[in-house]
Subunit: 390 residues, 2 copies
Amino acid sequence: MDRSGRSLRHAVVVHLQDLATPAAVIDHDVLARNCRVMADRMTALGVRLRPHVKTHKCVEIARLQVAGHDAGVTVSTLAEARAMAAGGIRDVTWAVPVPHPRIGEAVALHRALAATGGRLQLLVDHRATVEAIDAEAVRQDTVVPVFIKVDCGYARAGVDPNGAALTSLAIRIEASAGLALRGVLTHGGHSYDVAGRDALLRVAGEERDAVVHAANRLRIASVACAEVSLGSTPTMAVAEDLRECTEARPGNYALFDVFQARIGSCALSDVALSVLVSVMGVYPERGQLLVDGGALAFSKDPGATHVLDGGFGVVRDLEGRDLPLKLVGLSQEHGKMKAVGDSGWLQGVELGTKLRVLPNHACLVTALHPELVVVRGQEVIDRWVPVRGW
Amino acid sequence: MDRSGRSLRHAVVVHLQDLATPAAVIDHDVLARNCRVMADRMTALGVRLRPHVKTHKCVEIARLQVAGHDAGVTVSTLAEARAMAAGGIRDVTWAVPVPHPRIGEAVALHRALAATGGRLQLLVDHRATVEAIDAEAVRQDTVVPVFIKVDCGYARAGVDPNGAALTSLAIRIEASAGLALRGVLTHGGHSYDVAGRDALLRVAGEERDAVVHAANRLRIASVACAEVSLGSTPTMAVAEDLRECTEARPGNYALFDVFQARIGSCALSDVALSVLVSVMGVYPERGQLLVDGGALAFSKDPGATHVLDGGFGVVRDLEGRDLPLKLVGLSQEHGKMKAVGDSGWLQGVELGTKLRVLPNHACLVTALHPELVVVRGQEVIDRWVPVRGW
């Protein structure tokens, strides 16, 4: 639609073939299906879905993710929180331990959201952070909802679910004037280090057990713990039992990627993101093609190297057929592809031919592109702009 | 200076300590020294410097790079070419083989630049590309300057300096109405696969020999070849003999990075770029710190793994002192640091403490940050905005 509301559909139809490259392309129907499947899955397992939006940083995708649930989201930066709020999604959890220099901003954003019924929920796993947020909340005359971050085995952030810090933090929060304890929260990020349904189920079990155990320890200590929050895409894609949990926070599943397919979170047909590139060099004598997408179009994430060294993505033609090509090297704006097996056919590849590559890691790809081009089939239907920075 | 020309120096002095994190920080004096040293080095070796600007994509740095030379630059994208032109640098070489779908835009940009004495020089290594640019140049009523790309052993793009394609391409260009052959051009990117002065000198020799040989073959075939262009930062940092070459195109040297220091292009004290982060978690029980810079602040380039697995950077305090910490893991917005050796001292690290990390690969870091914060000592003196996209 243009600004006057008239449909431009018949006036300007842009196809993949006509797009400038490199471009990040999202298949709308696959995206919508991924969002629906996860939303239904979480409903069936009895938890609310509070999807993470860091994978795409677009309010348009966040709206698809929250459909059928409570319209709350999870973010990784204050910039994402502000973008979601500007887009009308005003119930936000910032799922990193708050860096102290950002406490003033975070409390101010919560205060602004709370004025119209929204909130910014923060994570804490240190007493000094609890005290600093409390002091700032009192200074700004507000009450900030917080979660205690629990480590379920990922060993990145969070307190030991069996340790003394968990209860002492909770009691300190309960005693504060500026904080309201919402509950406990964990992230089974070590699901990315394994592969296969059985291994993912094991990590999903560790994730659930750790956060439920933490919640129960608080209750035994007579601390109210309303929320029991968990989730990563791999664990939520396979989990069969989320009893005693209240919300799940997967995010990558909206787009998925080759990494997720390799470890068993999805099929390759569920990957909604691809990078469109053009062939800019054909070198049959060394079995190579050169394309105009490099490290700034794909990132240099090597993918699931513990499962398979698949190069930097899965190479297809515009019709979605797999090609016997491996994206073996990325320099800044060059992608080097090698023929797998016989390479005689490369002689017939025309310069300018467009290819679609399913990338290893969606979250890092979308962050590199100024816009995400949305297609249905091969027709462009929208363009979304991710927020950047922090 | 503010817009009225008054100095704001005494009104608002921002220090590193006060910056929001993560932030990409450039040490102005180190940058200026790097630019001067390379400019002088190329003058001493008798070639013009046509610096690559892809590492930073900022016209402010490009101006420092071209000082003392002919004010021409090299770019990796049309977006960079446009940004340079907008900033007054109008003699540009686009150093990738032109992707066919962008030929119309590229020729139009050359035509616009040529109207005021500038130019956009293009690279070719396929006959079909020569024919397509020629046809478009004729259509747009202009003459486009082109270089033949020669492969000196990197095996990314370019024709064999000993092959028949080199001369046949040149003869085809000479016969065209829309193209002017400028000369031959190569890039010894395989310098990034080796380490140490001797190995870099060997690659520098291969790079020079290949492009000089190609130029001489053209002259023997009675084709004029004015320009003999070469260069990568590692080879230009060590080369002792560039006779018969006319211009050099290194770029990374303006900022350098840990990768360049590890392979021997520079010392760590020459690295002008760092990523400023804040400590957001202290976990002495597992010897870890968590900082608020992750894969979107550092990229996931693993660095010079053929030399040393140094993690994702070199960790320092704000005074520039090395700390016994290794940046071992990057998720999207989390950086995980491990103490090297004894970890008891981590107990004394305050949350919110700021650290400076010299990154593995400057080109990928600057592309992730909305702005580059320029400091002299610890004082912010400017903020530069890199161009994005293609």
